[in-house]
Symmetry: C2
Subunit: 344 residues, 2 copies
C-alpha cells in the first residue's frame, strides 16, 4: 500500500532509534509546543481561512507580499495542490528524488519524463538538463538539496533552468524544504528570483526545521498569483488547522533555534559522514540534515536488529539495493549508529 | 474570493456572538482539549499514515471493518478526495445544499445537474428524484439533515434512492455530519446499509459534534474499497495530523457528552424555533443544530449592528435574499438573539 513506503514509520517499528525521517533532531522548540497547548482553547471555531496572522508574519520574514504565499496541510498537500491546479499533461522529474512529486502527478494522470542523475556525478543535475526543458513540458520539480541524496544544484545552474522555464512556459517548482539545514542556505535559495520569474514556485515546510511533522504545515511562494488562485480552488477552504496556524506563527519567532540548528547540523553532518566513511561506506556530500550512502544489501535489516532504523532507498526510482539515507541526529544518537555499524 | 463566502468567519468579524457556524455550543470536551495539550509532546514525528489507533477505535464503535474508513483533514478534504478519486463526468446535486460539494466537483471539471428543492416542500427531496438518477450520472451528494435548511430526507426515500443508485452505478454520498444532533439520528442513518450497497458512501465529521472545527478531522465509510484506495492515491499520505488523530481518539470516548448534546440541542432548538416564529419569522423544522428561516432583507446587517452574526444564505444556489441560518447555541446566547431581534 502506497501509504507505507515512506520513512519515519515509527508506528509499525516501535522502540527503534529512527534515522529514517529527517526532522530537526533538537525536537520542536518549546514556544511551538506551548502554542499547541494554548491552541486547545481555540479549537471550537473554524480556522481562519486566510491564515491571516501566520501569513503576515511569514510575509514580513520573507519580504514578499502575503498574496504570494499559499499555505497547505504540510508541504505534501502543497505538492498535490500544484498538481491539481496545473493539471499538467507532461512533467519532467529528476530521478532519484522525493516520491510525492510523482504520486501527485500520477493522481492527475500526468505523463512523466524522468531525467536520470547518476552516482558518478553525485546525482547532480548536468548542463544537458536544458535540452530536456522543451515546450511540451508543463512542470518540473527540483528538490534542493535533493531528497534522498543531499545533492545541491548550484545557483548558476538553477538560474539557467529558470530562464529556460520562462522561455518555454514551464512551471519550475524548487523544493527548498531542506535548505534551512544548509550552512549557507540563504545564498543557495532562489527566493530572491521570485519577483523576476513568474514561472517559479518555491516550496517550503515547517515540518523539518521546526520538527513539527505531526502538526502539518507547509507553504509555497510564487508571483504566479493565477496559479495560487487555482490552487485555492483545488483545496477546501479550511485546509490549515487553527493549531497549525498558531504553531507556525510561534515557530517563526524561533530565530535562535534555527541558527543553532544550522550550526550543529553542519558539525554533526561532517562528523557522521567521516565516521560512516571509516566504516567502509560510500557517503555523498550533503547540505541537508541527512546523509546518503551505499553499502551492503543487508544493512537495513542488520541495523534493525540492533534497534536502529535507517531509510532503505532501494524503492526510489533510479536507485538500487544497498542505497540508504540516514538522518543527522544528535551526537549521542549518531554515535549509536556508528557503534551499531561497527558491531555488524 | 471563494475562501470568504462561508459562515463562521470570526476572524474578520471580531467581538460578535457567532450564530453563523454550526459547532456544538458546549465547546470541545475537556478530554479532547487534554489530548491536544498532551499531543504537543508528540509532534516531532510524522503522523501515523494509517491512523491506526483512531481507526481501530472508530471501527469498533461503528461496527465496521477498519478498511472501510477513509480519514481526512476535515470532512471537506474527504469531499474533495471523493471528487479527485471519482473524476466524475456528471453529478446530480440537490439545491440548496452545502457549497463544498459543488466546489469540489468544479475542481475536477465535473458537469453538475441541479435538482431544485422548494420552500413550499420545506426544501425536501421528492419522489421525482428517481427520474433524475439516470445512467449518465456518476455521483450524487445528499446532505442529511440538509445544510442550510435542516431538512431530513426520510429513510424510505433514501432507500429508494440507494437502490436506484445501485442499479445505475451512481456513487451515493450521504453527508451525515449533522445527524449526530438529531434526536433519533441513529434511526435516520444509512450506516447499516453500507454492507448491502457498494455504491454508498457515508460522510461524517468530528468537527460539529465535538466542537473541534479548528483541529480538522472527518471521515467517510464505504464498502467500496476500490474507491477508498483511489482516494488514498489522491491525497498525501500524512493528511491527518498526529494532533487530530489523538484528539479524535479522545473524542470517541465522550459518549455522555454526545448524549447530553443531543438532548440539550433538541430542547433549545424547539425553544429557539418558537421564539423566532414569535418574532414573525418563517422557520423550517430542523433536525440539525441550526435553524433555517426567512425574514426581511436587512436582518443580517441589523443583527451585526447588535453584535450578532447569523449566516446570510442568499449566496446558496436556489435561495434568495432574506434566507438565513442560525446555529442553536446555549440558552443564554439564544435569548440574546431573540432580544436583538425584538429590539430591531
Amino acid at each position: 500500500m502506497k501509504k507505507l513506503v515512506h520513512g519515519g514509520d515509527i508506528y509499525r517499528n516501535k522502540n527503534v532509534i529512527d534515522f529514517s525521517s529527517n526532522c530537526n533532531p533538537f525536537g520542536p522548540p518549546e514556544g511551538v509546543k506551548q502554542a499547541i497547548r494554548d491552541a486547545a482553547e481555540k479549537i471550537g471555531e473554524y480556522p481562519d481561512v486566510m491564515c491571516t496572522e501566520l501569513r503576515e508574519t511569514l510575509a514580513e520574514k520573507l519580504c514578499v507580499p502575503g498574496e504570494m504565499i499559499f499555505f497547505g496541510n504540510g508541504a505534501a498537500e502543497v505538492i498535490f495542490s500544484i498538481a491539481f491546479a496545473l493539471k499538467p499533461e507532461k512533467a519532467l522529474l529528476p530521478a532519484p528524488t522525493f516520491a510525492e512529486y510523482e504520486q501527485a502527478l500520477a493522481a492527475v494522470g500526468c505523463e512523466i519524463e524522468h531525467y536520470m542523475t547518476y552516482e558518478k556525478d553525485s546525482f547532480g543535475i548536468r548542463e544537458d538538463m536544458m535540452s530536456f526543458l522543451t515546450e511540451d513540458i508543463d512542470v518540473i520539480f527540483i528538490c534542493n538539496p535533493n531528497n534522498p541524496t543531499g545533492t545541491v544544484t548550484d545557483k548558476d545552474m538553477l538560474m539557467k533552468i529558470a530562464d529556460r522555464c520562462m522561455e518555454n512556459d514551464i512551471t519550475l517548482v524548487i523544493d527548498e524544504c531542506f535548505l534551512d539545514f544548509a550552512y549557507e542556505g540563504q545564498s543557495m535559495s532562489m527566493m530572491n528570483e521570485l519577483a523576476n520569474n513568474g514561472k517559479l514556485v518555491i516550496l517550503k515546510a515547517f515540518t523539518k526545521l521546526y520538527a513539527m511533522a505531526g502538526v502539518r504545515l507547509g507553504y509555497c511562494v510564487s508571483s504566479d498569483t493565477d496559479l495560487l488562485e487555482r490552487m485555492n480552488d483545488a483545496v477546501q477552504p479550511w485546509n490549515v488547522s487553527t493549531i497549525a496556524q498558531l504553531a507556525g506563527a510561534a515557530a517563526l519567532k524561533e530565530d535562535e533555534y534555527a541558527e543553532r540548528t544550522c550550526m550543529e547540523i553542519k558539525k554533526e553532518r561532517l562528523w557522521l559522514a567521516d565516521a560512516l566513511k571509516d566504516e567502509g561506506l560510500k557517503v555523498l556530500d550533503s547540505e541537508g540534515n541527512y546523509l546518503f550512502f551505499t553499502g551492503s544489501d543487508d544493512l537495513y535489516d542488520k541495523l534493525m536488529e540492533k534497534g536502529i532504523m535507517i531509510r532503505d532507498c532501494s524503492n526510489y526510482r533510479g536507485l538500487y539495493r544497498g542505497c540508504y539515507r540516514a538522518a543527522v541526529k544528535l551526537h549521542e544518537d549518531n554515535v549509536k549508529l556508528i557503534e551499531a555499524l561497527r558491531s555488524i
